[in-house]
Each structure stands twice: as structure tokens, then as C-alpha cells.
Subunit: 250 residues, 2 copies
């Protein structure tokens, strides 16, 4: 039986303030909870409906009713399992950043976009995502769900981007996507470096643009010269950029 | 002053049943409404807050208050302009399909994914999207907003896919994205053809798969052989596929 205090605590995890205070976040769905249980994440509490199949784990499992699940779920259609998880405390490894390909997100606002970007970084073997402090929180329920489990495998850091750029190797190539620059399809790309993706409406901020030493753009193929689309969705643009970087080194 | 009947009518357009009955859909936001007014779409009614700047148009404009806008808006944060638009009656041109690159969507469920796909097709100059009858409705408020105006420029058709495939040229290449097949990065791709993208959970249905004559997959670059991600978000996968098809013919 779920206590009112517990329900209130779980529901409070919709908000970043309470996630940070409690150091906890929520993941839902049998598939996602299964991936969490098989990862290094530490479980705070675990709830499921009767007859739900979950892998072996050490967490204390509480079997609850559908009505109770509805009370704690953030989904429109509550699923069969919900886990409350400790937010991991990870530190950036600058040596890894200096020698691999990483993504920097400059104020991505939409948690769905963020979650989708984490998911596609997992697909493309990009291990580290460095976010500006104003970027959406990767532990918000919407972002976590959109990662489809990639949140277990990808490191997401929140830092003051100026500090970050001042700490990395000065010789590393910093790519930025803009509406002008070099056509990404014809440009030599390196197997390591930083790719900056900008805010949904504003793109990369001028104070971050100064760190870019290779501007890239994705050419538009629209047939109608009079009515060109303005931009691509940021998660879609990130996917195209990651695909271009990775296919070159197949 | 908005009548209760008008408010009720507009709010009913959240549902496909009423959109089809009335032949109307809603678009919101100054930018999107501006694009709609500059397109061939016919306006049924148009609402904006005082001092909103819209381009010249022939529609009857009603200036309303913020409170009234909140009553008719589908957005969490209502914008300054809302248009009610006639759903266009477009017919597939099979000759165009036979000689260009088109996308077929097999039961895409999420209106946000659908809107994002319409937007990226606009970017990549893919003029025609053919959807199975169970694919999300492109005129739902969420899909329209996610297109960011591309709904004005791209043709979206809803048809029985078996009929569609039986009507097109037998020599056209039909590509389908799967988890196996040919690595898309190394495969010869044609400048015209059909690309089928499948449902978010199930992929391409077996009864549609039979029309595919070239299976493609996007290779996974994950470093962790033990914990590979299962799939990519469908709008992200569509973006990568379109990017590959188009860059070859730059």
C-alpha cells in the first residue's frame, strides 16, 4: 500500500527543484525499467503491477494496483513498472573528451528533443554530451522516456560552457552547425572533436560561437526557391550531423 | 466577441472525427499563421490579439482578447494568432510518384513524429508523403505545429497502401528500412523511388514488406557490444535516410 507521503514525493519528481533536492528521478515502462535494473544506476524504490516480469535485482519491489500506479505515473497511459532512481554523480573526463567525438548542447529547451538526442548519441557511439546550464534536464520524466534507455549508457553533464571550452585541448576541432559555413557533405570531418548544437529558436549563442573553429551547415534541397523552409528540428539536425561524422570512418 | 458555438467548434477540431466532418483544421502562432496566409490554403476564420502583425490577406480577421485566445488555443502557452483552415482536397499524381523520391509511412502513430517528418521532407525537397490509413492525422494540432509551416508545402496523402503499391510503376525501386539488409552508407541509391518508414514499435508490417525490393539499415556505432540500443526514433531514422539519398546527387 502506497503512503500519501510516498505518492507526493514521487509526483514532486516532475520538477527539477525536487529532483535535485532529493537526488532522484523516475523511469517508467517495463522495457525502460528493465534496462535501468541491468545498468549501474542505483534504485531507490521500485513499483510494478502484479505479474510484471522484471530481471533479477536487489531493489525492494512493491507490487501495487493499477489505481495506485495511476497515482504515481507521469504517463497518460500508465505502464506496468515504475522505478525511482538515484541521480548518478558523474565527472567529466577531459582526456576522453580530448580524444573522442562529443556533443555540446547550447540551451536545448525541449526535453523530448534532449531525450531523442541522447538516444541517437547512443546509436552513434557518442558517449559524452555536455549541456549548458540552461539546457533541459535529462532526468525530467519526458526526457528520460524519450531516451528509451540510452540514459543508462550515455554521460550527460551540465556545466558552464565557457569553463568547459577553456579546459579542453586547444587543438581539438570545435564544429558548430549554422545556416551558413561549409556544406557538411563536402567537408573533411575528424573522428574526434566537439560538435555544438544550438537552441531550437536561437541557434548557437554568440558567446559560444566564438569557440567554433569549423562552421558547418546542412544544405537545403527544397525545390521551391521562393518558399524555403527555415530550419530543421534540432534532434533531426543532430542525427544528420552524427550520421555524416560516423559514416566517414566506417 | 467569440460566441460559445464558435469556441466549441474550434475546440472540437482537436478530434479527427470533427476535422473530417467540418473539413477544417487549426494552426497557431504568428509565424505559422503567416506562412498559411501566404500559401494556397483557404482560411475559414482568423483570430489574433491586438497589435499582431500578419501579412495581407482576404480572410475576415477577428481581434480577440488573451482570455478568449486561451479558450480556443490548443497550446500550453497560447500565441498571438490562430487560424481555422480548410483541409485541402489533393489527389496523388502517380506520374510524379513514378519519377521522383517519395516517402511512405506505414502506421506512424505519434503526431509529433509525423509533423517532424513532414518538416524534414520539406527540407530535403521530398514533395509527397503517402500514409497508411492508420498513420496519425497530419491535420491534428500537434502534427501541424511540429511541421513548422511545412504542411503548406508538402503533399500528405492517406491511402490504402496495398492499392497504392498496386498502382505505381512496377520498375520503381521500393526501399524499406529494417534492422537488417544493406548498410545504407555503402549501397547504391537511386534519385527516384519510394522509401517506406515503419511504425514506431513494430516497424514495417509484413503485408507491406512484400513491396520492398531493397532493404536498408542504418548501422549502429555503439561501443558497447553487450548493451546495444535497439532502434532509432522514426523521425531521426527518416532524417538520416533522406540525408543519404539526397547527398549522393549533390
Amino acid at each position: 500500500m502506497l503512503s500519501k507521503t510516498k505518492i507526493k514525493q514521487i509526483k514532486s519528481l516532475e520538477y527539477k527543484k525536487f529532483r535535485n533536492e532529493l537526488g532522484l528521478f523516475v523511469a517508467e515502462g517495463e522495457k525502460l525499467v528493465t534496462e535501468i535494473l541491468q545498468s549501474d544506476f542505483q534504485i531507490n524504490s521500485l513499483f510494478c503491477l502484479p505479474n510484471t516480469v522484471l530481471p533479477k535485482h536487489n531493489a525492494r519491489l512493491e507490487i501495487i494496483s493499477e489505481t495506485e500506479m495511476k497515482r504515481i505515473s507521469f504517463l497518460k497511459t500508465p505502464s506496468t513498472a515504475l522505478a525511482v532512481i538515484k541521480i548518478p554523480d558523474k565527472k567529466i573526463n577531459i582526456n576522453v573528451i580530448n580524444s573522442s567525438l562529443s556533443i555540446v548542447l547550447d540551451d536545448i529547451q525541449d526535453p523530448g528533443n534532449l531525450g531523442t538526442i541522447i538516444r541517437l548519441c547512443d546509436w552513434f557511439g557518442i558517449q559524452n554530451i555536455i549541456c549548458s546550464l540552461k539546457t533541459a534536464d535529462c532526468f525530467s520524466p519526458k526526457a528520460v522516456q524519450a531516451t528509451m534507455g540510452a540514459i543508462c549508457r550515455i554521460n550527460v553533464f551540465y556545466v558552464e560552457l565557457n569553463d568547459f571550452f577553456n579546459n579542453i585541448d586547444k587543438n581539438i576541432t570545435v564544429y558548430g552547425t549554422f545556416l551558413e559555413g561549409e556544406n557538411i557533405y563536402n567537408t573533411k570531418l575528424s573522428s574526434s572533436g566537439i560538435i555544438i548544437m544550438g537552441n531550437e529558436g536561437q541557434g548557437i549563442a554568440p558567446e559560444i560561437e566564438k569557440y567554433v573553429n569549423q562552421k558547418l551547415y546542412i544544405p537545403c534541397f527544397s525545390n521551391d526557391a521562393a518558399k524555403q523552409p527555415e530550419s530543421l528540428n534540432v534532434s533531426v539536425a543532430t542525427a544528420i550531423v552524427c550520421s555524416e561524422f560516423k559514416r566517414r570512418f566506417l
